[in-house]
């Protein structure tokens, strides 16, 4: 199976579903990850251009930790919008390249606009990628149509306002998840050294409570996107 996970910032997928993605890889599936925003505003000291490059590298390293292919759409922080045709085109290209059997992305009521727009841009891109007459030039140049496929929403940050309907046991991949998250040094180190926040503990603790909820040591929670063409009569989560 081919799985595509689309997050907003360079560390969002690590927080929300990297345990699950690592498990997919271990089971022999092909996983692609894509961050839509480049994270260029996510630091107090490092300036935008430099940070954008650093965070791309951190995300690439995190993807390699779990053995996922890494894509970026490279929108600037705070400027992600589903109305951006070019952003949607680039996201649809990622969908066509990765040919997913299922997609994981943010929840529709997530905590900031860039996250919500990422979901909505993905919805637009997912339909675009499936239409043979969309972006005809790219098609002539060899791009392949990607069928509309099921979508799962990963947990929100700290689980606020999110009631999972399905769980994935990540007891075997929690350390990989945290190792991948730790690649985001520009975020993790800063928070630890300057704000006294241990973000790895935060994420471990949330995964542990999701585990308690479903009888596993560690887990991640998901909700299926209940829409036409998105539901299927089998479990796609590992």
């Amino acid at each position: 199976m081919k799985i595509l996970a689309v997050g907003c910032h360079p560390d969002d997928l690590e927080i929300g579903c990297y345990g699950t993605l690592a498990k997919y890889v271990q089971l022999g599936h092909e996983v692609s990850v894509c961050h839509v925003a480049n994270g260029n505003l996510g630091h107090v000291e490092i300036m935008q251009d430099e940070l954008r490059k650093i965070r791309f590298e951190e995300a690439a390293e995190a993807a390699s930790v779990i053995g996922a292919k890494h894509y970026s759409v490279d929108a600037n922080d705070l400027y992600v919008t589903a109305d951006d045709d070019e952003l949607v085109r680039r996201l649809a290209q990622v969908v066509r390249k990765s040919q997913p059997d299922m997609i994981i992305t943010h929840y529709e009521n997530d905590y900031m606009n860039d996250h919500v727009q990422t979901y909505q841009a993905l919805m637009r891109a997912s339909f675009a990628a499936s239409l043979p007459h969309w972006d005809l030039e790219a098609m002539k140049a060899g791009e392949q149509v990607a069928p509309v496929c099921p979508i799962y929403h990963m947990d929100t940050l700290s689980g606020l306002g999110f009631i999972p309907t399905e769980y994935v046991d990540i007891s075997d991949t929690i350390e990989l998840k945290l190792k991948a998250l730790a690649c985001h040094r520009s975020q993790i180190d800063w928070m630890r050294d300057h704000d006294g926040i241990d973000f790895l503990d935060f994420v471990r603790c949330c995964s542990r409570v999701r585990g308690y909820q479903c009888g596993a040591a560690y887990a991640e929670g998901f909700r299926a996107n209940i829409n036409y063409l998105r539901m299927t009569a089998k479990r796609l989560l590992p």
Copy 2:
């Protein structure tokens, strides 16, 4: 009474509420239908410009089957957005021309972005149409203000995620509904011949289950839009 139904693609209203619209017409009401997207990406072989024309004709024919007036806003598929001022202007013109006592449109959580944007564009257009100082030139040229009126949401495709609060018995108009739907040959024939999908059976079957839910042979389900200026103390559905 004057009823305006606003759907996204050329066949969406046929699927969601043409039984009800046909019933309105039979009861002597004046029905206008409007599709916002031109459906130009909805085929595997027919190219965009040609398809756009074909689908306009199919929609016009479907409207004539039930005796409705036919409008189109002519946005390109995948590019419907409530942020498009020109699209909203054209939609507001349709509202002002049709002077509706009530409007039927998509559900706010529908399955694709173009559908959701159609609803949101309609909300914007509906307010715009009611304001005497909006589009002053058009007003001077004779356009009439149309009061804000109640809105009903029609069912989603296959009924996913939609719990109707009101039903319309379409036992007497189910065949008209299907006849109108069958006008969309570019869609129906293709699905039947190439994908083996009998879309007419799909729609009949969904109408039948909505019928079983309310004690009719066939029915369509709706939800009132619960917002200020939209609620009324009587039933507007036929």
Copy 3:
């Protein structure tokens, strides 16, 4: 049409739906009202047995104000439960006697147990009343089966936690509603004289806001009970 309204305490229907019931009567329909609890604990000074009689009389007087037939199930306050077979039997008798085309009752999440149990007892009684082999002796004695019919939930006290999906314009019957409510002197007078609460203002004000919500001077709000055999493809509210 025949309408049965089932409330818990002797004044609950007056507060929640007497404007609507009065309108039904004015339109020529036949309205029956029934309170399940006898209200025997609803006073600080008047003792239970005396209060039970007073409140029955007050309710009977209120029913006569709007021209409704009056029933009582006579359960003691705080002891209403859908598990009480005798209570359900008496309630089913009321259903069979009144032969309703539709029923109005409390909301399923109402604010106190007696109200919720009234709804649940009614559900049980409504099915019981429809079965020819239930209470065979009563049947032999002439009781008639009453078909399962649609149910509407009236507003909660002060509207808390209740979002109406349908409204009834009671501008023409608001004074009758308040006149009927005023019959409950044991409640209204006590609150006014000892607690300084003007309950008639309370109810008028709530009806006024429901009116503002649907464009009427005064209104009452309702929700259809969305269950099999309860939905219908037309409006039953006046």
Copy 4:
């Protein structure tokens, strides 16, 4: 795996989940079915005692059609309540005998009190069955504790008010499901001959729409019971 399905009336499971149960059996799992009410009021002509026996036989025959073990708790129609200690004891015995890895039952907001009480009685019975010191005499006589296990809610009648979060493709077992349902001649024949209702068409049509919703020819819809000790990190549905 061992599956226990607990329905209220003798034909409720057939309508809601027999396609899924048949599929379990075909996959080699062990399926037990149990109806809580004996259905003794479900006919216009046949009297209670006789009907109770007929319906037990019909249910037994239906169970044998799909190869399920058949239990009955034998409560009288309209008298199912989770407060009935004896009913709960008998239901807990069924749980202990069938030792389920998962349970399927009614939805918590189902359309009649007996169905809702069946769910609540099952919740009570499921905990009781898991406690070593509950019904000590039965334990001494050899009854085995049955662990608390996940619960899935099957669809409501006609799907009213129910949004499935998981689907089972029953294309291969729809005919078996209908064959089992047809065993309930006291219900099916009566409705066909006297009320002109084709209940088999009703159920087939609902299964077809659930199929359209998830991309299968026929399907049944379910919701997991989201409670502590009930969630698990894998799919238990077939």
Copy 5:
């Protein structure tokens, strides 16, 4: 202020709200705790009568850890029901004795019947306690009416299905909470020694995630009971 917390089993309040209760005590408020079930079925080896006594002592000790007054209604496990008049009478006595300004109890959709019934019995008892003519003999013997007061629902076990609307920072009382929980040796020790479950870690971890959600080291989550006479225009939580 006087606070009454009513839980089902002897350790439920400790898990759900003892951090908050300890904080109330530290702020000078008067806290009463009451468990409705005696927990007599909550062990694999210790028999019912002995366990009932042990658990009462454990609960009393836990209450003394935070300085709360301790009550018990002493219903048997699995037999808690709001229909039990005697249980409700005893619970109303606790309400009248403790004269609460607010009450904390289980959530209405909690995971097992005894918990849900505890909430419903409390609702009934709370109204009963407020009525001067309820339990007249007790009144004559000196019992005082207790006014209807606001109710808050504490978190569910592991937070499943519960979205808090208000939080209490328990960073200063988390250790007291865990110390009180640890008093329940019959539960904690057994789980640790025989099942390998560290329940103290479970509760600490859940409190930590609730803390992450509201910016505190540790927190407990609550939802106000949105019903007439229960809402107030100020925060009652500490």
Copy 6:
């Protein structure tokens, strides 16, 4: 404490939360109000440019009535969108200038697009205002970062579709609220003289019902925005 309230049209905050804002001021807090749309289409006779100026003055006067600082973002009516970078920049400037400890704004499901977009633009602006590298030139010119802070949603117009979770008693400030609302003569007078609508009665009546719901003479209702970084373990409402 510093409070920022962001409404769409010049009178929206007055209707939704001016009683609460006046109370904040009386308690010594610092309140800033900001309207995003300039209200230039809100009249039948007065033309856009003139109306824009009139309404700014009316809003400024209303703010001075309660002692609040007044800001305007000056977007044209019907053209408010969270995708407008310049609008978001101006709104973020207001956030940075007012340095709020909490923000009050519209509900996410409000009745018209401009209101919903105001909320979404605020979400974007609130994050932007908190990032040191956003709008660097403004930062160099002295703008100060404003931390992400809790958000409360005020009531919808007439309370439609809104269930408050927290209330503020505005009995002491209801007259100030109405006095501030009355400053909007272009709206209030027109409605009274030409449409026969007494908008002050409308608002008073809605505040009275919210009061009845929480035991106050007059009240305003709110819902906390349940998102990461927005929740706090104390009440911020007065």
